[in-house]
């Protein structure tokens, strides 16, 4: 369904981009399902952590869609989001180390994404590099 539209535009979701789409997709699902479950089932335990998880899910979802859609506008929007994501990981990561009491429960970005094999901190860096590189081709 997205295939025909994808071919006409610059191929953000092709080649190495395909791998990024998959990883961003996984993290969208992981962060979204986690935050939805926690916001419903145990909101009172750690509201800040769960809301941050929800925010990260939205950021991941937006980047995934931008990569699949392609095009210059999507590329720029995805770069902004990758920047926001990197900032988020660094902020939340530092915050959880400095003041653990603010986070009684984990988020995707806690301790720089340690619970997720540090992928959350590698992903935005790789994403930014890929998005920068794909401008020259397009």
């Amino acid at each position: 369904m997205a295939e025909s539209a994808e071919r006409e535009r610059t191929g953000l979701g092709q080649g190495p981009g395909r791998l990024l789409v998959m990883l961003y997709g996984v993290f969208t699902v992981a962060a979204a399902s986690r935050s939805i479950y926690q916001l419903i089932a145990q909101y009172d335990e750690a509201p800040l952590a769960y809301i941050l998880s929800a925010v990260s899910a939205v950021v991941y979802a937006f980047i995934t869609v931008s990569l699949v859609r392609g095009g210059e506008g999507a590329r720029k929007a995805a770069m902004v989001c990758c920047g926001a994501e990197l900032l988020g990981v660094l902020t939340v990561g530092t915050w959880t180390l400095v003041d653990p009491s603010a986070f009684p429960d984990q988020t995707v970005w806690s301790d720089y994404g340690m619970g997720y094999l540090f992928i959350p901190i590698f992903l935005p860096v790789t994403g930014l590099m890929w998005l920068r590189g794909s401008r020259r081709e397009g």
């Binding site: 092709q14 190495p16 395909r18 791998l19 998959m22 990883l23 699902v29 399902s33 479950y37 089932a41």
Partner: protein, 122 residues
């Protein structure tokens, strides 16, 4: 039973990851044999989903909650098939790398599933 299957599926996922990772390293797209491997792993994941649901309906209770258990079961069943379709669209080494990454994700999901179900004796 479900613990054994979880362990087998985790090992199969890692094997698939290594196999497709090797194809990516050698700059090759996924081939028929890879797809057969993906089909086997997917089939195992679907069997696991069915057994998990049956066990739940028999009144078994996963240690960390039913909702999380089902979410992880569905995620495991979907991971490799989705990557397989992506590698069909991407006939380069990156298609192979995508499948390898999805297989690693599946292996991680299996480790988590083991914990969620409650470890030994399930």
């Amino acid at each position: 039973m479900i613990d054994v299957l979880t362990a087998v599926l985790g090992a199969a996922a890692l094997a698939l990851a290594a196999w497709c990772g090797f194809a990516a390293y050698r700059d090759q797209p996924t081939k028929d044999w890879h797809f057969i491997g993906m089909a086997v792993v997917s089939l195992l994941a679907i069997v696991q989903l069915v057994i998990g649901v049956v066990r739940l309906s028999q009144g078994d209770d996963p240690e960390q909650g039913v909702a999380i258990f089902i979410a992880y079961l569905i995620g495991s069943a979907l991971a490799v098939p989705i990557a397989a379709f992506m590698s069909l669209a991407e006939r380069t080494r990156w298609g192979s790398a995508t499948v390898a990454a999805a297989a690693v994700v599946l292996a991680v999901l299996e480790v988590r599933l083991y914990d969620i179900w409650g470890g030994v004796g399930g």
